[in-house]
Amino acid sequence: MVNTKQKIIQAAAELYNTHGVASVRLQQIADSAELSIGNLAYHFKNKEAITLAVFQKLTDEVRQILNVFRQSSDFLDFDQQLGKWFSFQQRYAFYFSDNTPWPEKKLQRLRTQLFSRLVCQIQKRFDFHCKRGAVQPDTAQRDYRVVAETIGMTVTLWPLYRGLQGKLADNEKEYKRAIWSQFLPYFTSRGLAEYNELIQPLLAPKE
């Protein structure tokens, strides 16, 4: 059963995602959670406390996504993680893109660390596939750390980018295609064959 606190956090997260953290008022949160403003104040003393609880919850979710690494030795491992990232972005895109100062510096620092872990994981995925011959070896001209940073940017800021284009970011296949296309130039023939067999069918648009 969802308790009142969780209900408030959920309602606030949805509103933050739609309108941005700075634009949401307490009254909106109370209306969305179907509570009186007095009841809201009973559970959270102010908006900052709600925002803190929301960011804490989201930080835990991001941690859970990053906790799964290398469950299988093929490309499906990363594709599954991308599915989780997409689902997260649909609900809480503001976690990475909102520039409103966070209520607690520690959490903000944690977000930075989690982003660097994401980049680190992508880089290590390159290393792993390179070792098993699916990706070309790392050279001075081909620095996988830089590529990983760019892919990390796409993973986290995709909805923001789509918003700038005036488009919706609600198509999972499009999201995954944008990310996988950054891997494509680095595949060996073996990697490309595996990609065509495992990933390409999952990304093909419905006919």
Binding site: S73, S116, C120, K124, F128
Partner: protein, 119 residues
């Protein structure tokens, strides 16, 4: 878990490397891995004698396993080493008794004893 605890990036990279390496080192075994069962099957019918040797200031205990029909088929393995000769002899005696086949055949194993109903 303590919320303040976190790994720095370098340590995290080492951890991910270890995860990656597991896929190259921990692979599923094949049928050939069971070859030792066939190769060492003859050891079931072997005589065992102990052998004590003084080397580098220690009394080393060896066991010699020889096939009961073909004594030239044998292996010799070092079991342990002791500082005192009498201790080495005692050790060798018990090691031999442990390793030797039950020659009188008084030990019995009833396979039905392994069948039990957990419910």
């Amino acid at each position: 878990m303590n919320a303040d605890f976190y790994l720095d990036e370098k340590a995290y990279q080492v951890l991910l490397d270890a995860c990656n390496n597991m896929h190259f080192t921990e692979i599923v075994g094949g049928v050939v891995d069971f070859n030792l069962l066939y190769d060492d099957y003859w050891l079931q019918d072997s005589a065992v004698i102990e052998n004590i040797r003084f080397a580098k200031g220690e009394w080393e205990v060896y066991l010699v396993f020889a096939h009961y029909k073909n004594p030239y088929r044998l292996i010799k393995r070092k079991i342990t080493s002791c500082f005192c000769k009498s201790k080495a002899e005692t050790c060798a005696h018990y090691m031999r008794r442990l390793a030797a086949k039950d020659q009188r055949g008084t030990l019995q194993v009833d396979k039905n004893l392994f069948q039990y109903n957990g419910n």
